[in-house]
């Protein structure tokens, strides 16, 4: 490089001032400005969609957390209970007793609206089950007046939440226009009121004619046990596999093949794992159908590649100097990995695990084939082991089932379920963040 050659291009240009920007600099500055704006627009669009999503979830889902109840004193005598227990359709007998009692009470109160048993039956949800359960748990309360908060029917609930209005209501066997007068009168009398929907949070799924009784609690437990299986299997297997591949395995064709296949596995559609689960775990290994154990095993297969890939990435990100230093002061290879490399990689591993778990938590497709989607309303498991083996649903499966039902009340439940699912996810993430903070080491 001679001076002459350096100057040749400069001679083409006029004198360049460093203070006043020329055409090309301005162009570059503009391009940068534009690029920044694209970035801001992209973020703003993302935020906008997120906001819309959250707003619609909250708007549709919040009503699921309140319910309309019929709150009234009810006394059941020993004889009445025995008579009801003697029937085949016991809950119906209990419901009829309650309807008769409510009718008497309303007659005494002398309401303006007309009251008959059929109308009361239309206003009430499925109340027999709640009453029967209460007295089988508290047999000592027989003969005493108990204040029951019993679910109103889904259409009465919809009347308070705006799903049903007087203008569009058509008389049917589910609800008649005249019933709404009774509802208004009862609301004024303080018998029908709004309450927090505890049964939604603690209950299990209910039949399609009983949206008021449907709860997500049991499927939260189902999801919890599934996540335990996924965490308990995929984390140790995934971490062990990636440590071996990353730190100990020889580099040859065979390990290359394994690496490629792990990456491929991560891209396999989840329904495929469901078919595998049906064929291997249920039909071959004879594990129970509809059980969180099988669901967890299937989801483990799905989560493994995610964990292996992220673990290997975070192991790779630990500077080689750390290994060299450890080996240099006489540590064995295993000591170097477990005492020095792994703790430094832990935050990355945790992040990968939580992403994998979050994916597994929201997965419905693989559960379709192993019997966890449908009507699974067994309630809470009897113990820790039973939690893995007793039939149960999972949260996304439950949401999917509700969204497909005819009664609009279930649609609202599905949105409410999404809120619970997000809260579950958030809790998992917070635990991961706390763990990550504790493990985090700087060098």
């Amino acid at each position: 490089m001679t001076d002459a050659s350096m100057q040749t291009p400069e001679t083409g240009r006029h004198s360049v001032s460093l203070t006043a920007s020329d055409e090309r600099t301005r162009k570059r500055a503009k391009a940068e400005k534009r690029f920044r704006m694209y970035g801001i627009i992209a973020i703003a669009t993302g935020l906008f969609f997120l906001l819309v999503l959250f707003a619609s979830i909250l708007k549709e889902g919040i009503p699921a957390f309140t319910r309309t109840v019929v709150s009234v004193d009810f006394t059941l005598t020993e004889q009445q209970r025995e008579a009801a227990e003697g029937e085949l359709f016991k809950t119906k007998a209990y419901a009829n007793l309650f309807i008769a009692a409510l009718k008497n009470e309303l007659d005494e109160r002398d309401l303006e609206a007309e009251v008959d048993n059929a109308a009361i039956e239309r206003l009430l949800g499925k109340v027999g089950g709640t009453i029967r359960e209460f007295y089988s748990q508290n047999p000592g309360k027989l003969g005493e007046p108990i204040e029951f908060d019993l679910a109103a029917s889904s259409r009465v609930d919809g009347y308070f939440k705006g799903r049903v209005s007087r203008d569009t209501l058509q008389d049917s066997r589910f609800l008649q226009l005249s019933d709404l007068d009774l509802v208004d009168a009862l609301t004024e009398a303080g018998i029908i009121k709004q309450a927090f929907n505890w049964p939604f949070i603690t209950g299990a799924d209910s039949g399609v004619d009983n949206p008021g009784g449907a709860g997500i609690g049991a499927s939260v437990v189902g999801s919890f046990f599934m996540m335990l299986v996924v965490l308990g299997l995929s984390l140790p297997i995934g971490v062990a596999a990636s440590i071996y591949l990353e730190e100990f395995a020889p580099q040859n064709k065979f390990t290359d093949l394994i690496e490629v296949n792990i990456s491929n596995l991560a891209a396999v559609p989840s329904i495929v794992f469901g078919i595998l689960g049906l064929a291997v775990f249920i039909q071959f290994m004879h594990l129970p159908q509809s059980a969180p154990l099988v669901g967890g095993l299937v989801l483990t297969l799905m989560t493994l590649p995610t964990i292996i890939i992220s673990t290997r990435a975070s192991l790779k990100a630990v500077p080689p100097s750390i290994r060299d230093a450890a080996l240099g002061v006489g540590a064995s290879k295993m000591q170097a990995v477990f005492h020095h490399v792994l703790p430094l990689a832990a935050p990355g591993i945790l992040t990968g695990t939580i992403i994998g778990l979050a994916q597994a938590l929201g997965e419905t497709a693989p559960l379709l084939l192993i019997g966890m989607v449908g009507f699974v309303a067994r309630g809470y498991p009897d113990g820790f082991i039973a939690g893995f083996t007793e039939p149960n649903s999972a949260m996304p499966a439950q949401i999917y089932t509700w969204a497909a039902r005819a009664d609009v009340g279930f649609y609202e439940k599905a949105w409410g379920g999404i809120i619970i699912l997000l809260m579950f996810l958030l809790t998992m993430n917070i635990i991961a963040i706390i763990l990550r903070r504790r493990f985090e080491r700087r060098w």
């Binding site: 359709f89 140790p236 159908q289 154990l293 989607v373 009507f375 067994r378």
Partner: protein, 346 residues
């Protein structure tokens, strides 16, 4: 060390649960999505009213359910298959090959199939099977000749119908409902329009002509819905001109969104269906593996509970949801009590 402990305990849990897995104590049901609502109502009540655990009811369609039903005998197979059509000879054979020989058939009642459109859409108030066939059939009779369906609007073949684009949402082939739709609407319409006669006159055998009648057009005006009725409802919601096929119970639960059309002049209702006046209805069934009775606790009790007068009768919760009660329920109850299987001369 913690990893070792974790994986060891996980393996232990797996091992323990695998051993306890041997005893299933709940009834396992799968099959028709039309029967699912009724089965779920019964399952909930069965759990509430008896000491048996609540049965698990899966969906998936009649054919898929019967396929799983026929996979064999044993605790890892389902006990009951729900179906919105009767089991086929082919399926009975497939069952027998896998050792499922003693099958009990239980008819729980009838279901009506209705044609409904958006509440605020054009006036689809009355249909004849021939209208549906002309709108959705693959080949129709026009001007004395069999041609690929040329119609774009309903008014082109029936001036009483609205002049709007044809858009039909019909159940997909895995649904039992499809079979009823084909037999009671398309085939009847095919005969009524004279298309079938023309096909036979054109050199087709009777069977071939029947098959040709059942084909629906594939130019996008007839859409197969493989999911549930909620999917059909969503399609109708977004398409004011759409006509959807629903179960009576689903329609009755959504009367604020849907308006129903009469078929051959008869409005669908539980009354018209139980008397047989309304033409498009079909029986609903479930099938039980007799070999599982006595092995799976509560299986026979479930069937008896399902068909009890208080449940499946005209004033029971199933009828209240939209099932049309079977007038011959007593025979079904006897058959279950005596564990009468198919083909044993009942």
């Amino acid at each position: 060390m913690s990893f070792v402990k974790l994986s060891a305990s996980a393996l232990a849990i797996t091992a323990i649960s695998a051993t306890t897995a041997a005893a299933r104590d709940n009834v396992q049901v799968a099959g028709s999505s039309t029967v699912l609502p009724y089965a779920s109502i019964v399952a909930e009540l069965f759990g509430e009213n008896t000491d048996f655990p609540t049965p698990v009811v899966e969906s998936g369609g009649s054919s898929a359910g019967l396929k799983r039903f026929c996979q064999g005998v044993g605790e890892n197979t389902i006990d009951v298959a729900n179906a919105s059509r009767a089991i086929r000879e082919k399926e009975i054979k497939a069952c027998a090959e896998n050792g499922v020989t003693d099958i009990m058939e239980v008819r729980i009642g009838y279901d009506g199939i209705v044609f409904a459109s958006q509440q605020s859409g054009p006036a689809f108030n009355a249909f004849e099977p021939s209208d549906i066939f002309n709108a959705l059939g693959a080949k129709v009779l026009k001007d004395g000749a069999i041609v690929d369906n040329p119609y774009n609007t309903w008014a082109e073949f029936n001036a009483d119908l609205p002049d709007v684009e044809i858009a039909g949402f019909i159940p997909g082939t895995k649904h039992g409902t499809r079979e009823v739709f084909e037999e009671k609407v398309l085939l009847i319409g095919c005969e009524a329009t004279g298309a079938m006669e023309a096909m036979i006159a054109g050199g087709m055998s009777e069977d071939d002509a029947e098959d040709a009648c059942l084909n629906v057009r594939t130019d996008g005006k007839s859409v197969d819905i493989d999911g549930d009725y909620t999917e059909t409802l969503a399609r109708i919601d977004t398409n004011p001109n759409g006509i959807g096929v629903f179960g009576l119970a689903f329609y009755e639960n959504n009367t604020d969104k849907l308006k129903v059309a009469t078929m051959s002049g008869i409005a669908p209702s539980t009354e018209t269906i139980s008397t047989g006046e309304y033409p498009v209805s079909r029986p609903l069934f479930f099938y039980i593996k007799k070999a599982h009775i006595g092995v799976i606790p509560g299986l026979k009790e479930y069937a008896q509970f399902f068909t009890h007068d208080d449940i499946a009768g005209p004033s029971g919760p199933l009828a209240n949801y939209g099932l049309v009660a079977d007038p011959e329920l007593a025979n079904t109850q006897d058959a279950i009590a005596n564990e009468v299987t198919m083909g044993s001369g009942s």
